[in-house]
Symmetry: D2
Subunit: 380 residues, 4 copies
């Protein structure tokens, strides 16, 4: 057994999400960052690498250079997998090249710009047998694990209704015009894809619904909005949902919801019980019942399913947060990969994979199509 | 100045809402209950009346008898107004007859079964000059008053997004089949009208949106559901909203949301700020801002608008609830009526009136029509 | 069966607590206000009475006049009981005189200025057989009823620890110097007694502890403070508690806790479970357990004790508040009194009585004595 | 600039706090674990080390062996500092030896068993000039940093009142008799010291009060309890506090508060405003004001002091928790140490140090002495 070696694509100094990936990857002591193509120039990549205590020769100027160079290193030195943390339009090419060169992949979401690209990656993963983790981090939360286990164990009965929202306010004004880096690429279709907030956070909401309920969204009717001046991509939307097995629902997302920070929240109603979880207060899961008193589960507290317990690192009452949930994606991916490298048979740990990526892109395209047809119902 | 005299139609023993109306009417010491047609038989009406300490001769067997008999009493004895607290199908006739006989009206919602009836009442109110209060009670809450004042004073800036929900779970099972009285008439189109939960609670949500934002819903796209066995009326629904001035929104309501008690909640997002209010925790109004810290208003607390302060009866920190908000409808109606009787000029107090009733019925019909057309956008 | 007739002592226009008493007394339709000695002059008393729609001849200039005059009225007209809502120093005399003249009494707390007065009232109640209700309103809350029932039914196991606090901030500055009426008498020992905030709100905390746990405070160690300029009475304090059966606890009260509105909160820990209730959010009772998930009870929700259910007026999810809890004291007192008048045998309803008043005064004196002895333990 | 090298004393497999220390140390990528004396035998230490991917030769059988061996390694290889994560009785000796051999120290709390030991360490730190961090982790929370900055900037005005509590329930039953390892040493005076829960969590509460207010506790009156069968050390207590500058307060701690997980909460009241923070919901700081609306701060949200902003790693709305706060102690210690190694002058980062350790031990001894004297006031 040894620590895994990670190479990073994107995530230079001042990147928000690159730093999150690094912290998440390092938290459980199973992964070392060994190389990176952090920026689009060799020089800036090396500056980032230096601040991360990397040796200069393993800071590359492009992902192509990194993948090719690392391929030539001896097996006991070269990276095991790449973590792709670039803007959306830069996911597909490095993921494809990494897979084609035998490297496992951790990739940010939404996975690609088009359905075709997404399906191509799905085929590549299948044909190469390599691992692919998509960093939908919210399913990593212990209380989301508990929610899913409760639904799958039929504690709530047949699911009837779902409400999910993902509300942020940071694009309420046109900060992309001030040069704010995070905003600039997200409002640009060439970098973000056909969805704006829809792709950026709407897909988290869609993924969370499907993860917790175990039901696919079958069709949807979307009303998207562009409140920011001159925006071509949506920055807000409301979507009606019809899921498998007769469940109904609604999904609302926004990046112009002034004052909201990162308000992802979900409610699921079955025939016997219901549950509620909010990302900003992630350490409780509220459940309500036909005949019983309202109960509140807490991580590592009483009466949890094993799937939830295993996702907590510390005792009840010691709050874990965003990074810890994110780290559970890495931890489970790493556990899987170590087992493969060590030739051990294990039950495959639970982390989002390339199939979830394909569903996300299809969700984006169905929503955009519905919106263009004045909210007509569109099948995913 | 004297106390007002109220006659009640409906609201016999075991009626939930009749008792609420009586408590709300009595709270501020401005109204005496003097007579009633509490039930459909003379005998049962008298039993109810006796438990309310009424004299037998003013307990009537029908609303027709009550209105006619009271009309013949001397002016200093006869009732001033009727409170109609019957199921929906029994609102129109007594309201019409009361108005035609010179009695002011307080009426439960939804106001009528059809748009035609609603508009007929609207015309009657206009032509008689009599007062008509519709008991949408939630606008009576001090924090809802504050919310409306903040929007109308442009504290939030131009409104962009609204989310409202009204979730209950008491019809999650088919309790109407057990003979439960409240449930039985609500699932019966001949008594409830074309809307089920839509009319019962969806209209409260619609009214709250329009009251707080001051914006009308222009069009909507509805997906209604019938989860209970054999139900012909909706018991759940999700609706997309487009409001005046470009605002968008969504409205979700349910009576099959297991475990929910009376979860009416609203979020309103403007260009500068946003607000959030939940009926089950009515004594706080959360507001969020572009550049300022999140603030929480409390009734009779610091920095409120006068419209909110006047709606509180007790000092900050002493919670008021459902009955107090309901009582504010009666208090403002009574204040208006006393001023008219006393020939005093006052600024007309704020309470929902016949126009709000018309909008509610139109909202119901538009939603049903949209649902029948697979969620097509329908103008109200 | 008839409505009860109430005479009020104190509670003129602008009195906060007089208005609360009237609303609480009227809410359930069992009590009519028929007369009052609202103010210290005949003229001002009549002005108050007029605004309450009382006839002039039953608005009295003093409590002595009221008690004597009402005694001469025919039995079917004269008041049944007095409600004493004056400042503390004006509780004893009218209560004594009312009892001596055959009138039942509802009295505000703290009951008297001295232990001797309190014990004299206790003897008078015993010797006359008249009813005496002390308006500790917080035990009237449905969730406090549930809390008490849970402890008495041993759901929590043997009680080990209690934490209670009652925090307000309205005396944080010296508003008594601005002539604020509520503040002026409360900081004046001749009107308030030997305790300031201690008597005004500390006694509510002491009463709540003893009511919920069913255990008496045996001894205490108090550290009282006077933060306001020139105050001679305490405006803040911290008290260690030792209760019967080995339980321990602490009590904190303040009227200088800036920003606090009316924050009465209690936590009780037993060997098997614990509970938590906050007055500002009165419609939930949080319970925690050795082996079970945290549960939250709501009024009229699932799995409540009958003692709690009977204290709610409306369905679950419809919040009740301060006035409703207060009204439960009146309702239970009225139910008791009606039964006596009607010669019916009933189980005596649950409301605070003269014995609770005696305990409150003894608590005040023990706290003051401990404070004077540098927080030495003093037996109550 | 290079990563720091950490050696760990204690923290073998199954240790809770050792794992927390490792995760906290690794989170920011500034520290590598290079060696350890994880357990009391060489064999078990090596098993722990192996699971942490350490080389066998740097897994030691005792802290003495580790300190001596590491001292002989070349400067570019040997550890920079030790992290002492053993039970209380094993803090002093390794800390002393590490300092005497030129290694910086991170040490768990309470720092030592006696005041004499504590003061000896304080002198050693002064005389050697080495760094010493005490892992009071709660001051690492961004909202605690904001709280302290608000008090020190006089936003709240002069402090008058403090309430702090630290409540756990995990020792409600006598689990030490089942061999539970965490419990066993904590109830044993030879390992825990003169304080039980008092030392384990009471010191966190004392430290938090002094950190946020900037005021020392001058004297205290303590009532300690032993609820668990046969316990000789306290498992619960209530303490009255008198602080510098006339502030008063109370402190309650418990490990028998059934159902509580890790409920550390504090309220601070000044002349102008007040604040409230709860560890279980660490990402909000509630503030209340004389004349302003209640406000709620969130990490990286609007209007924070720089001292708070610098303590957050991710954007507003992305919750951070216990590990992140803990990591801020390591991060600030590491920043300080790197500056010293790099010979850079920086403003000394904010982390608890040996002086805080001395105060904690003095607090424990004063509390025990007061309790033995029936809660007499004792000066710290």
């Amino acid at each position: 057994m040894r620590k895994l070696r990670m190479g990073m694509i994107g995530g230079g100094i001042d990147s928000f999400i690159g730093d999150v990936h690094r912290k998440a990857a390092s938290l459980d002591g199973m992964i070392d960052l060994v190389c990176g193509a952090f920026s689009s120039t060799n020089e800036r990549s090396k500056i980032s690498g230096k601040s991360l205590f990397l040796s200069e020769e393993r800071c590359y100027g492009s992902f192509e250079e990194m993948i090719l160079s690392e391929s030539t290193l001896p097996e006991n030195k070269r990276m095991d997998f790449v973590a792709i943390v670039t803007p959306n339009h830069m996911h597909f090419s490095p993921a494809k090249m990494a897979l084609e060169n035998g490297f496992h992949v951790v990739c940010d979401k939404p996975m690609t710009l088009t359905i075709e690209e997404a399906e191509e990656l799905e085929k590549l993963v299948a044909s190469t047998g390599l691992l692919f983790a998509l960093t939908h981090n919210y399913p990593g939360s212990p209380m989301v694990k508990q929610a899913r286990a409760m639904v799958l164990n039929n504690d709530l009965g047949k699911i009837r209704k779902v409400q999910v929202q993902y509300l942020q306010g940071w694009l309420a004004t046109s900060i992309e015009k001030t040069g704010q880096k995070q905003a600039s690429w997200r409002v640009d279709p060439s970098k973000s894809g056909v969805g704006g907030a829809l792709g950026d956070i709407g897909t988290h909401a869609q993924n969370l619904v499907e993860y917790i309920t175990g039901l696919h969204i079958k069709e949807l009717a979307a009303d998207l909005s562009r409140f920011g001046d001159d925006r071509v991509l949506d920055d807000d939307g409301n979507i009606l949902l019809r899921l498998e097995d007769g469940a109904k629902g609604s999904l609302s997302f926004s990046q112009i919801a002034v004052g909201e920070e990162n308000n992802l929240a979900i409610r699921v109603y079955g025939e016997k019980g219901s549950l509620e979880w909010c990302q900003e207060n992630p350490n409780q899961l509220v459940t309500r019942w036909l005949d019983k008193t309202k109960t509140i589960f807490t991580p590592n507290g009483n009466n949890l399913y094993p799937e939830s317990i295993v996702a907590s690192r510390i005792p009840a009452g010691h709050p874990e947060g965003y990074i810890e949930a994110f780290a559970n994606v890495y931890k489970n991916f790493a556990t899987h990969l170590i087992a493969i490298i060590s030739n051990k048979k294990i039950e495959i740990p639970d982390y989002p994979t390339v199939g979830d990526g394909v569903r996300g892109i299809k969700f984006i395209y169905a929503s955009v199509k519905s919106d263009k047809n004045n909210s007509a119902w569109i099948k995913i």
